[in-house]
Each structure stands twice: as structure tokens, then as C-alpha cells.
């Protein structure tokens, strides 16, 4: 019999009951909540007269609607009354049901997928869910983590379980070494470019290979974060010393004897050597260069030295139609070099790229330089209050401000523009976020997904440019 994959092990460890019809009851160790996808779930509990099954499995924070300025005013600083009600509703629900929440003025507040790992609320071997598709981020710790809808938020609150059907196993192996200036973001964009936005549908993806093993936890989080953009709800990386060293001494990480016991258990969180995958995709790390998306789907991506594609060269009629539509929306011409795309704004932030390493990479590029006067705005939004504090201790805020970038307070911000930070119609943005869908960052806005270093380089140049040439 073949060995088990990491996904198989996580599944088996959390199987409460296998039902005859092929569905299974899976136990959930950690449930993260935010203000957008939880109000209807709490309301559902109230209507049915149900209580949460296990309070201490839950952790909440407001992130999508919070402003990135004026934070000392707390909730009163939220100008949009509809946004304010949503944040107030989360506070009220957490208070009423007794759920731990890092409220808007708590220094630990931040993007839900940044604070889980930061606090050690995300631990290897867990099942982790949240009403947010980027919950796949936590898979970087050898967890089974995925996004759920609001009905399932209610289901987890009420039962601590989910009804699931087992997915298939996919291994994405990135061999060899990455070149200098190539980041986790470039790796995941290259993977999405290769397998497409539906390539991972129905699969749990494990990312492996030398290039992944060499990456820091934060870079692994960036990769797992965008599994959903490859169609896979779940993305994972096996546990190794990098994982364990990152988790150690986090506020909610186990301590003392418990730590020793946990580490011993975590060492088994990898696919067995003889495990079989339903699908294997391989890339050579040395071939990956800094990536830029040109279209309205994350799979519409190319290297910074590339060109906007020519729809006439696409054989598949549905894809061709997609390219034509994307170019029209993006205001780009076929065969135009990526480096000629002029930018209006730059956004460095989001659950994909707002951690300390991301900010360090961006700061290293802009240090001693000035943002191009052709830009309307370049902003940096740290992923949490603690990331912000650490960056300030390292002097990164000063580097950004001196270069002409705005230094903001933590939240989801312009990744999805539910707060006041958004693109104007027709504006091009170099963004470190995860989705370049039509209107995602603002009505009529045009998003190009890049790494923090590439966004920083674009801020200096006013257009896309190869960060490796700027720095070296």
C-alpha cells in the first residue's frame, strides 16, 4: 500500500465520522472570523437558539472594512456608516457569544491571515477555516486550511465540524534554486500561469521541492495564500525546522513539555516518500523571473521582460475571447512590452504580501530613491499592528515616507477596496494583492499583481521595470 500524503494524514487525524454516502464529518481546530462573512452566521445561531460548540477555538478581528488612517478614533474613524455597522456587529456578536476578538484599537488587530500565524493561533497539524478564501495561507504550516461560506461559518460555530468530501492530491514541485530578486509571489504567479485558475479545482495542493524548502515561512504563506487563485481551496507545505522555529515562542504556541510533545508530533507532517499523488506539476525555480499580470484573471501573467499577448495567436476560442475582453478592460494593446505599462498607483499590502519580510523587501528597493512624480499615490499597508510596530522599530516607515510612499494602519485596504482605499476608473495599479478581477480594487480600476519588490521598483520608475536591474 502506498504511503500517505500530508493531506491524507491531516484528513485522517480530523475524521470524526465517515458516512456511507461518501461525505465525512471533519473536526475543525481553529476558526477565524472577520466582520464581512460572519454577521449572518451569528444571526442564524440566534434564530435557531444555538450556542457555539467550543468558544476557545475561535478568534476574530475586523479587517476588511477598517480604515488605514485615523485609527486612534477607533470605530468612530470609519466614515462609511454601512462599514461601521458591520464592524460594530462583529464586536457585538463576539461580546455576546464570548469569542476572543482583537478589536479595531487592539495592537494585535490585523488581517486575519496575518494575525493567526503571528499569534501562534495557527499551529502545524490543525484544521483551520475562515469565511475567506485566502484561509489557504495557513497551509504553509502543514495545516489543512481553507475558506468557507457563511453557512459553513455557522455550521462550524454550532458543531465544530464541517461536512466534507475528500479532495484529490496534487503535488506542485518547484525544483532547484530561485534566482536573486525572485520571491514567493513570483513563484505562485508562475504556478498559476502554468496550471491556470481552475488547474487546482478539486485538489488539495502540496507545494514541495528544493525551492519551496529554501523559502521562509512568510514566503511559503504567500504561495499557499494564492492556492485559491489556482482553483485549489487548500495549499500546504510540509513541516520542517523552518516551520517549527517560526512557531516557537509565539503567544499561543504550546510551551514546556507540551511544546516538546507537539514538535514530536509535527515532525510527521510531511508526505511519505512512497505517497502517491493524483497529479504532479513540476517547475524549475531557475526559470522563474519576476512576474506581472496583464489581464483580469491571475492566470493572465508573464515575466517582466514579456509582452501583452496577442489574442490572434490563441487557438482556444473561449480563451481568445477572454484575452480580447481583458485587453479591452485593461486598456492595453496586443504585443505591448510589460515595461511600457504606465502606473497611477502602487499598493503594497494584503494577506498575500503585508508581512515584515515583504515590507523589508520593498524598503530595500525604495531606500534612497523617490517615487515617480507621475504616480498619484503609492501606499504601504502593514498586515497587522504588530507588523507595523516592528517595521517602525526597524526604521522601514521612515524609508517609505522619505521615498514618498504613504505609511498606513493595518487592514485589507485596497486589495478589495471595501474601505476608503480604492482605484479610480481606468487607473493602473501595481499591487501586491491576489486578485486582478474587474473592479476588484475599485470600479473600473486596473490591477497588475506583482511582488513587493516589483511594486516598489514600479513606484520608483512609474512603470513596470525589472527590480533585479534596479537593485543590482
Amino acid at each position: 500500500m502506498a504511503g500517505k500524503t500530508l493531506y491524507d494524514k491531516l484528513w485522517d487525524d480530523h475524521l470524526v465520522k465517515q458516512r456511507d454516502d461518501g461525505s465525512a464529518l471533519i473536526y475543525i481546530d481553529r476558526h477565524l472570523l472577520h466582520e464581512v462573512t460572519s454577521p449572518q452566521a451569528f444571526e442564524g445561531l440566534r434564530i435557531a437558539g444555538r450556542r457555539p460548540w467550543r468558544l476557545d477555538a475561535n478568534l476574530a478581528t475586523p479587517d476588511h472594512n477598517v480604515p488605514t488612517t485615523d485609527r486612534d478614533r477607533g470605530i468612530d474613524g470609519i466614515v462609511d456608516p454601512v462599514s461601521r455597522i458591520q464592524v460594530e456587529t462583529l464586536d457585538k456578536n463576539c461580546d455576546e457569544f464570548g469569542i476572543l476578538e482583537f478589536k479595531i484599537k487592539d495592537q494585535r488587530q490585523g488581517i486575519v491571515h496575518v494575525i493567526g500565524p503571528e499569534q501562534g493561533a495557527t499551529l502545524p497539524g490543525m484544521t483551520i477555516v475562515c469565511g475567506d478564501s485566502h484561509t489557504s495561507t495557513h497551509g504553509a504550516f502543514g495545516t489543512l486550511a481553507h475558506g468557507i461560506g457563511t453557512s459553513e461559518v455557522e455550521h462550524v460555530l454550532a458543531t465544530q465540524c464541517l461536512v466534507q468530501k475528500k479532495m484529490k492530491n496534487m503535488l506542485v514541485k518547484v525544483n532547484g534554486k530561485l534566482g536573486p530578486g525572485v520571491t514567493g509571489k513570483d513563484v505562485v504567479l508562475a504556478i498559476i500561469g502554468k496550471i491556470g485558475t481552475a488547474g487546482g479545482t478539486g485538489y488539495a495542493i502540496e507545494f514541495g521541492g528544493e525551492a519551496i524548502r529554501d523559502l521562509s515561512m512568510e514566503a511559503r504563506m504567500t504561495i499557499c495564500n494564492m492556492s485559491i487563485e489556482a482553483g485549489a481551496r487548500v495549499g500546504m507545505v510540509a513541516v520542517d525546522d523552518t516551520t517549527i522555529n517560526y512557531v516557537k515562542d509565539r503567544p499561543y504556541a504550546p510551551k514546556g513539555d507540551q511544546w516538546e510533545a507537539a514538535v514530536a508530533a509535527w515532525k510527521n507532517l510531511h508526505s511519505d516518500a512512497d505517497a502517491e499523488f493524483d497529479k504532479v506539476v513540476e517547475l524549475d525555480g531557475a526559470d522563474i523571473m519576476p512576474q506581472v499580470t496583464w489581464g483580469t484573471s491571475p492566470e493572465m501573467v508573464t515575466g517582466v521582460d514579456g509582452q501583452v499577448p496577442d489574442p490572434d495567436k490563441e487557438a482556444d476560442p473561449i480563451k481568445r475571447e477572454g484575452i480580447v475582453r481583458a485587453l479591452q478592460y485593461m486598456g492595453l494593446k496586443p504585443n505591448m512590452p510589460i515595461s511600457e505599462i504606465k502606473l497611477d498607483r502602487v499598493f503594497i499590502g494584503s494577506c498575500t504580501n503585508s508581512r515584515i519580510e515583504d515590507l523589508r523587501e520593498a524598503a530595500a528597493v525604495v531606500k534612497g530613491r523617490k517615487v515617480s512624480p507621475s504616480l498619484k499615490q503609492a501606499m504601504v499597508v502593514p498586515g497587522s499592528g504588530l507588523v507595523k510596530t516592528q517595521a517602525e522599530q526597524e526604521g522601514l516607515d521612515k524609508i517609505f515616507i522619505e521615498a514618498g510612499l504613504e505609511w498606513r494602519d493595518p487592514g485589507c485596504s485596497m486589495c478589495l477596496a471595501m474601505n476608503a482605499d480604492k482605484l479610480g476608473q481606468g487607473e493602473h495599479c501595481a499591487s501586491t494583492s491576489n486578485r486582478n478581477f474587474e473592479g476588484r480594487q475599485g470600479f473600473g480600476g486596473r490591477t497588475h499583481l506583482v511582488s513587493p519588490a516589483m511594486a516598489a521598483a514600479a513606484a520608483i520608475a512609474g512603470h513596470f521595470t525589472d527590480v533585479r536591474e534596479l537593485v543590482h
Binding site: V16, K17, R19, D21, G22, S23, L25, Y27, D29, V36, T37, Q40, A48, R50, W53, D56, N65, D80, V82, Q86, T89, L100, L123, G125, G131, D132, S133, G147, I148, G149, H155, A158, T159, Q160, C161, V163, K165, T197, A198, T201, G202, G231, Y252, Q258, W259, A262, S297, I318, E321, G322, R325, L416, M418, R435, F437, E438, G439, R440, F443, G444
Partner: protein
């Protein structure tokens, strides 16, 4: 949950692939704390010429005449015919809520994104996967005949076209059971409360660190 067994309705064609949930219901409408009222903002950025705002009277807004839902022939549509990877992106359940609130009961596509597909079943909406070839043919037939209707028989797992052609489709037995009977699946899961408790007790022994309370300290 509203039960779903049989449905017959007019088919409307959404002829583009990779329709994402931002497109189905843009972010500004996610600020609502209710489950209902999203229908007028379904496909908001494609459907109207202006930028939509929450709590606005949409009847006064300029419509995009080229958008399929604004064409009189699809006014009564309750079956959405779509392309590959429908519902990709965000996990927002507001997407099926908006489709449902508008009046759609069935979505047919060659493939769906996983989270969206799952969310549909929680809301009495039936997503049906048919082969791309069949979907292509349905697009052609819908374009040809105004008022084109199909019948969906969930117990028999069949789609029936006006000419009497039948296409069978797969559906997960548990999801089908819940949908046909309109079951609240939290209630179904709570029938297994004892199994959940004994799992927890065993797990508390083998991996106690998973049960250390996260607290307000």
C-alpha cells in the same frame, strides 16, 4: 433551507468564462449584515452603466443594454447557463444569495469553482456540471429560440431540453439528500454530537496543545 426537487424555467446565457464572485456581487454590497436583498445588485458592474452603491434605488440607474439580463427575452430567467470555472475567487456566500434573490434556481456550466459550488447547495440553488460540448449546444439553442426553457429533475439527476433531449448529471448523494428534503445540515450534524464529543475526548489526550484556550490575556 428551501427544498429543491424539480424546476422548469427560462434559460439566460452568461457567455464568458472565469466569472468571479467579485463580478457576481461587488464588494460594496458585502457590507450588508443580511442574507437577502442582493438581487438588484447581481452582476452590478456589468448590468448598470454607473457605479453602484449600497441601499440605492436601482430602478433609476442607467442599464447596460448589451448585458444579457437587460434583454426582455431573459427577463423571467431562472436558469443561468454559464462557462468554465464559474464562481471563482472569493468565498463570499453573497454570490449565491444574489443569484437566488434575483430569481435563479439552477446554474449550468462545464465547471465551477469549489467554494462557490458548495455554497450554492447551502442555499437551495442547484449547480449542474455538463460537458462543455453539451453546454456549447445549449448556448446555441438558447440563442436561437426566444423563451427557451429547460426542465431539471434532481431526483432523477436529469436536464431535459424543449426537444425532449435528456442529459444526466452527477451530484453528491449527501448534498442531493439535503437539497431534495430542504434539510438544515447543522441539524443533521448535531445528530452526531456523541461522535464529535468522543473524537474531542480522544484528541484532547493525543494532542492536548490543540485544546489550550486562546484567551484575552
Amino acid at each position: 433551507m428551501r427544498a429543491f426537487s424539480h424546476h422548469k424555467g427560462v434559460v439566460a446565457p452568461m457567455d464568458r468564462s472565469n466569472v468571479d464572485t467579485d463580478m457576481i456581487i461587488p464588494k460594496q454590497f458585502l457590507k450588508s449584515i443580511k442574507r437577502t436583498g442582493f438581487g438588484p445588485n447581481l452582476f452590478d458592474e456589468l448590468r448598470y452603466m454607473d457605479e453602484g452603491k449600497p441601499d440605492q434605488d436601482c430602478s433609476q440607474r442607467p442599464l447596460n443594454p448589451d448585458f444579457f439580463l437587460n434583454q426582455p427575452r431573459y427577463k423571467e430567467a431562472s436558469v443561468l447557463l454559464a462557462r468554465r470555472n464559474f464562481g471563482c475567487g472569493s468565498s463570499r456566500e453573497h454570490a449565491p444569495w444574489a443569484l437566488d434573490d434575483y430569481g435563479f434556481r439552477v446554474i449550468i456550466a462545464p465547471s465551477f469553482a469549489d467554494i462557490f459550488y458548495n455554497n450554492c447547495f447551502k442555499n437551495g440553488l442547484l449547480p449542474i456540471v455538463l460537458d462543455e460540448e453539451i453546454v456549447d449546444r445549449l448556448f446555441a439553442e438558447v440563442a436561437e429560440k426566444e423563451g427557451y426553457q429547460i426542465e431539471v429533475d434532481l431526483p432523477a439527476q436529469e436536464v431535459v431540453t424543449p426537444s425532449g433531449e435528456r442529459f444526466s448529471f452527477d451530484v453528491d448523494p449527501f448534498r442531493k439528500h439535503c437539497l431534495v428534503n430542504g434539510l438544515d445540515d447543522i441539524g443533521v450534524t448535531l445528530e452526531d454530537s456523541e461522535a464529535i464529543k468522543s473524537y474531542e475526548a480522544a484528541r484532547r489526550q493525543s494532542a492536548p496543545w490543540l485544546f489550550d484556550a486562546i484567551t484575552h490575556s
